[in-house]
Symmetry: C2
Subunit: 119 residues, 2 copies
C-alpha cells in the first residue's frame, strides 16, 4: 500500500485544468489539479465536489457569493450549484468527487477531460 | 456557503481520538481528528478510509507493513485491512470516510465514538 505525498505528485505535471487521479476510495476519486486563469461556469447535476487548496489562492465564484480560498482551506460545492473557479496565479488544488464527475459538469466542451490520467 | 479553514477548526478542540465532522459530501463525511498515543487494531468491513496528515507525523501499522505519514501525505486504507494508528507526538489528521464509518471499525468498545460532534 503506497502513501501519496502531495507536493511530490504536484511536481510531476504542469498542465492546467486537467485533474489527475491520485487515489480512489469508496465511490470517489481523489484528484490533484493545477488551475491558472478562469474556468467556465458549470454545475454538477448529482455530485457534490470538494476543493481543498494545497498551495496558492483560489476564488470560486457562485452566482450570489464569492469564496476566497487560501492554503489549508476547503469548500464543498453542493450538487446543482453553479460555480466558476478563478486562479489569478497558479494554485494547487485537491479535489474529492464521485468517480462519475466530469470537470466541466453539465457542459461538454473543449475543456472537458474524459480520460483522466493516474499519477 | 461557508469555507473551512483547517487550522482554525483544529484550534477549537483538544481531545484525542474523537473525530469531528467539518463537512459532508455525497455519502461521506470530512472529519478532523487529533491523535496522540496508540489506538487499537481494527478494520472497517465495507468502507475505505483516507488519512491526510495536516500537522505532525503519523504511523499507521498494517499487519505486514508500516506506513509513515508526514505533513502533506495521505494514505487510503481499503476496507477489510486491519490497521493501527500510532502517534508518538500529537498529530492533526483529516479523515474522509462514508457516513456509516465508526472510528473503531469492527470493534465496539470504550473508544467508540457514536455521536460525532460537528464543528
Amino acid at each position: 500500500m503506497d502513501k501519496v505525498n502531495l507536493a511530490q505528485k504536484f511536481s510531476t505535471f504542469n498542465d492546467f485544468w486537467s485533474p489527475k487521479i491520485v487515489g480512489e476510495l469508496n465511490d470517489s476519486y481523489v484528484k490533484l489539479v493545477k488551475f491558472q486563469g478562469e474556468f467556465v461556469w458549470h454545475h454538477h447535476e448529482t455530485e457534490d465536489e470538494l476543493f481543498l487548496v494545497i498551495k496558492g489562492n483560489l476564488l470560486i465564484k457562485l452566482r450570489d457569493q464569492d469564496i476566497f480560498l487560501e492554503e489549508g482551506e476547503f469548500v464543498i460545492i453542493p450538487r446543482g450549484v453553479e460555480h466558476l473557479p478563478i486562479a489569478k496565479d497558479e494554485v494547487h488544488v485537491l479535489l474529492l468527487e464521485p468517480k462519475t464527475t466530469l470537470n466541466t459538469g453539465n457542459l461538454g466542451n473543449e475543456r472537458t477531460v474524459l480520460d483522466l490520467e493516474r499519477i
